[in-house]
Amino acid sequence: MKKQRVNISRRDFLIGSATAGAGFSLGLYLPPGSGVALAADESSAAIPDVDAEVGAEVSAWVVIHDDDTVIIRIARSEMGQGTLTGLAQLVTEELECDWSKVETEYPTPGQNLARDRIWGSFSTGGSQGIRGSHLYVRKGGAVAREMLIEAAAESWDVPKEECSVSASVITHNPTGRTTSYGKVAAAAAEMIPPIEVELKDPKDWKIIGKPVKRLDTADKLTGKQVFGADLQLPGMLNASIKACPVFGGKLASFDAAKVRKMAGVHAVVAVEDNAVAVVADTWWQAKTALDALPVTWDRGENAGVSSASIAQMLDEGLTAKEAFVGNTAGDAKTGLKNAVKKVEATYGYPYQNHATMEPMNATALWNEDRCEVWCPTQNGEAALQATAKAAGLPANKCEVYKVHLGGGFGRRGAFHDFVTQAVAIAKQMPGTPVKLLWTREEDMQHGHYHPITRAKMVGGLDDKGDLQGLHMRISGQSILAAVNPAWMQNGVDMFTFQGLLPDGDHAISYTVPNLLVEHAMRNPPIPPGFWRGVNVNQNAIYMECFIDELAHAAGKDPLEFRRKLMADHPKSLAVLDAVADKAGWSKPAATGVFRGLAVCKAFASYVAACAEVSVDNSGKLKVHRIVAATDPGHAVNPQQIEAQVEGSFVFGLSALLYGGIRIKDGSVEQQNFDSYPSMLISEMPEVEVIVMPSGGFWGGIGEPTIAVAAPAVLNAIFAATGKRIREFPISNIDLRSA
């Protein structure tokens, strides 16, 4: 019986779950120098009162019960991407426990704080869940295994080297005596953890690499899974909120008397300086009263901002003198000057909203000396920090309980505005738990949007049609400048260059003899954020569509044109070749069907896609099939990788087809899924996933494929229609053949 356990408050507030019960904590592992590593982590600086001492107390990734149930602690948040199951597989591999008896639970951010961040980072973003913690969670499993074996050997008074272990059973090989993890767990918890453990050679892995089923499915099929929006606490009230629609605007006034007597209403409260909330018995009553509440806003200095004014700002950056350099090779200017043929194009990518299916929400209970928050979050520690700040209490007087997320996509990681608001409301009603749930409209209008950029591409071909020079000027918004300036390097946001960098997790896939990639930072007053895929979403469109333009200008096959630039990028070439091969690139597609290619390295994984589309006489697009390849180094759970790859096409293509947040009078024009649609099953292509782990590294899974979704389809649309689409979404564009 496998199920995910949910942490609960000591007050037993959370319905539908049970505590882990008595067990024994095992398996401290903190890598040497981890204190330094953790200090460099994004969240540590943010959490006050952290004891810098590392490793003083035995902590736990693994709890074992006397019935052999193994509870594996998961620090990262599960939001659909499967990290909970993958991380449990990693621990299980080294622990050698019985997978059928594995359960998981989240330690709380408060526990992590109290225990010197023994579980490391809780941050769940950047496709980091597995690739960022595989080493220490596997070691956590290995350390626990060694302690269990040692406890058994001691009880038998035999050398530990004579014992072996498999599926939670320890065997003394010479005598055949056996015992189980549950029986020796208590004694093992007393053992001194080994300082060094050897991890298995990947060729010996038994559960890493297996397409095991997710551990968290059952409750999602029956309605039992409690998401943040579903939370019920005794005596809880519900809040609905409206913030000033103009970014940076303020709340001027509201007429509470007009709604105070409406059914169920308890309070009408100002929230920070820019929002107003109604608190009522039920959320529907709160929302109904809020809709009736007269509110006036001080719209502030951004009231005149529009999509047109933002475009103007970005256009200026395309030719501005100053720009940050992200990648350079040879001399792009000379390379272009000497070109026999020059190609120019300007692309733009709009704002996108995360639009998680579950709107933002948090539940808060504030008292003078303690504040507790229940919320779906991608970073429990950041949620705790937001709680403490809003509560006016030290972090050690606060606690956050992570509740299941109805989608994250980056919205619930770096930003906890919904937590801040929930605490600000609860603070005005001491002792009463209040659940704040945003409407879809509020969620659409108060996001932290995928940033807006434009890019001017200039490429030069020599007399053989080979690429000699490439100049890429990006103009637009930096995420880090708004979200985390501390991560910038001398004012440069290197994240802006994801997919275009000289090396590393987001290296460019091509060798161009004369190359210049630049960014003119232009930051409109619209809050940007990390949005699944982050900056490869637009950079891969710019690069992969333009490479396709160059191939056509050179009269060359887009695959061959790319291949010639990829001799020094063998892993990228391998995924590209794999999709071309499986899609049948060398042979024509069915009548009326056209293909497009794209390749990218993102979040340390190599991905490629070949899309097959048709466009009928009325301009209606159909994406028939996409072949996608991923080389993530090590593939922990291939069937979950397939799910993530398929899902990445939905996220990437929804943005391409329909996404696009537009600004009018300083506010977001879109309100709901009618004006910000998402793809439906009827539009979903067949997806063939090639998982081709080449070993030796750990790449991300949740995001990389989004990079190739849009450009593969766009290049196929060009093949079908002769039309280059350079502004999005394409629902605005007439696709009838040129």
Binding site: D219, Q232, G406, G407, A643, E646, V650, F651, F673, I681
Partner: protein, 169 residues
């Protein structure tokens, strides 16, 4: 007082007439499996069955409902989570975040109620739920798998619920 027949039980609810069924389910009855996401009938996260047909409960004020109409939510779809659609979903590991899945499952189950062996085109026309994680291809395979393994029908589940009602009354 509004009388409703929810998952085989007759319930009386004291609520403003204009309150949508979705919020009565979630807030008066504690049946939080039915989700709020858009509130304007587009996304399908709030899908329930009324007399076996899929409807979006966020658009239906309780005043429009009669006690004779059988309302089924995800919690009442089967007695033990063993409706053919739920079994197929488990087998194929369909959900990702899972938030849209109760609505997705209810849409799929209603489709199969009316059309035991739907074509891909039937699925396209009838399952119009939004899933931002992107589970669509597994949803499609799940519907075909459930069609191939009809097992116990949701009618049986309703019967079980009715029996429970009989015991409790």
């Amino acid at each position: 007082m509004t009388k409703l027949n929810i998952n085989g039980k007759l319930v009386e609810i004291d609520v403003d007439d204009s309150t949508p069924l979705l919020w009565v389910l979630r807030e008066q009855l504690g049946l939080t499996g039915t989700k709020y996401s858009c509130g304007i009938g587009l996304c399908g996260a709030c899908t329930v069955h009324i007399d076996g047909d899929a409807v979006r409960s966020c658009l239906i004020p309780v005043a429009a409902l009669e006690a004779t109409q059988e309302i089924t939510t995800i919690e009442g779809l089967s007695a033990d989570g063993d409706h053919p659609v739920q079994q197929a979903w488990q087998k194929l590991d369909v959900p990702q975040c899972g938030y849209c899945q109760p609505g997705m499952i209810m849409s799929a189950a209603a489709l199969l109620n009316n059309n035991p062996d739907p074509s891909d085109a039937d699925i396209d026309a009838n399952v119009t739920n939004i899933c931002r994680c992107g589970t669509f291809n597994r949803v499609r395979r799940g519907i075909h798998l459930a069609a191939a393994n009809p097992g116990k029908s949701s009618k049986l589940a309703r019967h079980v619920s009715s029996t429970e009602r009989g015991e409790s009354e």
